[in-house]
């Protein structure tokens, strides 16, 4: 691992942008920032484990899925498809739609993803909603250290929670019952507050909500999210 990684200089210097420090500091910072999110992720993972067990996926397969897929909504969809005897094709289509937002997310972090192709491939696996939100420095610039630090913490919580869920399915109820399902939206809201740097960002956030909610009743889960990113094209205007 490179200890000193120079991020490219920002094209614009938005407020709140602090010059990047060493990779190690950023890694630790990302880990620290991700801890509250990891608690929510752990709860979701336990819930996934319980659901997967109920869907007759066994013990090893759900854990293997968390290790490789590492995307909550796609895994819930796959478990419910398998549980209801649906086809493999339906599970894959759901996964593609639910994870389609990772294409634009991947493009947004690409400039920060240095190193050879294998290293970039592996680092990219740690980029999920939570680590992506934590890794944003502002103005569309991302810190690789923060992304990876947050990603590792969230990954451990996801895999560990899945194991707890499948092994303890008969002892734990659905943890979402305790209000854990509002942890991540509330944390995202706290992060969002720092991202509204100007009028255009505010307009985009509001339009994103409008697009996502208005499509929810008509489109498959996941589609409203990828559709909302279309409003970012407002950035093409000077």
């Amino acid at each position: 691992m490179d200890s000193q990684e120079a991020l490219p200089p920002p094209a614009t210097t938005p407020e709140g942008y602090s010059p990047p420090v060493g990779f190690r500091e950023e890694l630790l910072r990302g880990m620290r920032m991700a801890i509250p999110l990891a608690i929510a992720v752990f709860g979701f993972a336990v819930s996934f484990g319980v659901v997967a067990r109920a869907a007759d996926m066994g013990i090893v397969a759900p854990i293997a899925m968390s290790l490789t897929t590492f995307a909550g909504s796609a895994q819930f969809a796959a478990a419910s498809v398998v549980g209801t005897g649906g086809g493999i094709a339906a599970a894959i289509v759901a996964a593609v739609l639910l994870n389609s937002r990772y294409l634009p997310i991947g493009i947004s972090v690409a400039p920060a993803m240095t190193g050879n192709a294998v290293k970039r491939f592996l680092s990219a696996q740690l980029v999920v909603d939570e680590s992506w939100a934590v890794g944003h420095l502002g103005g569309g610039r991302y810190s690789r250290g923060r992304l990876l630090g947050a990603g590792v913490v969230v990954y451990c919580a996801w895999v560990g929670g899945t194991a707890v869920g499948v092994l303890g399915a008969q002892y734990v109820g659905d943890p979402l019952r305790f209000g854990l399902d509002v942890v991540s939206p509330v944390l995202f809201l706290a992060l969002l507050k720092g991202q509204i740097s100007d009028r255009r960002a505010l307009v985009c956030a509001l339009l994103g909500v409008a697009v996502a909610l208005s499509l929810t009743p008509f489109a498959s889960p996941g589609v409203p999210l990828i559709a909302s990113t279309v409003v970012c094209l407002l950035g093409l205007r000077k």
Partner: protein, 103 residues
């Protein structure tokens, strides 16, 4: 191979490919200026869209339930600049209590 393992394998492959596409194909390079301005808007847009669907969507229907109470309480704390952990605990508690009361 059983259907379950085939699903694990294929869903995993698809998810890994979607996440890797950007960083593998464009990694370490500066995005063109216009593209960078678009990308700068992604965090506010997608975070707002994620929050709204996590709170109001239940599958394909829109609902108003205990989650909204949790978010409103959390939003108040975020607005008042209370410590993040406190805000999260209050939001979670508000949603859980609402569920207890409304059954």
């Amino acid at each position: 191979m059983s259907g379950v393992w085939l699903a694990v394998l294929l869903v995993g492959a698809v998810s890994m490919a979607l996440k890797a596409a950007g960083p593998v194909l464009l990694g370490g390079q500066e995005l063109p200026d216009r593209m960078q301005r678009v990308v700068a808007l992604m965090a506010p847009t997608l975070l707002a869209a994620l929050i709204s669907t996590q709170i109001f969507a239940s599958g394909q229907s829109l609902t108003v339930d205990a989650r909204v109470v949790g978010l409103v309480v959390g939003a108040f704390g975020v607005w008042r600049n209370w410590p993040t952990l406190l805000v999260v605990v209050l939001g979670t508690a508000a949603a859980a209590i609402t569920r207890l009361i409304t059954g």
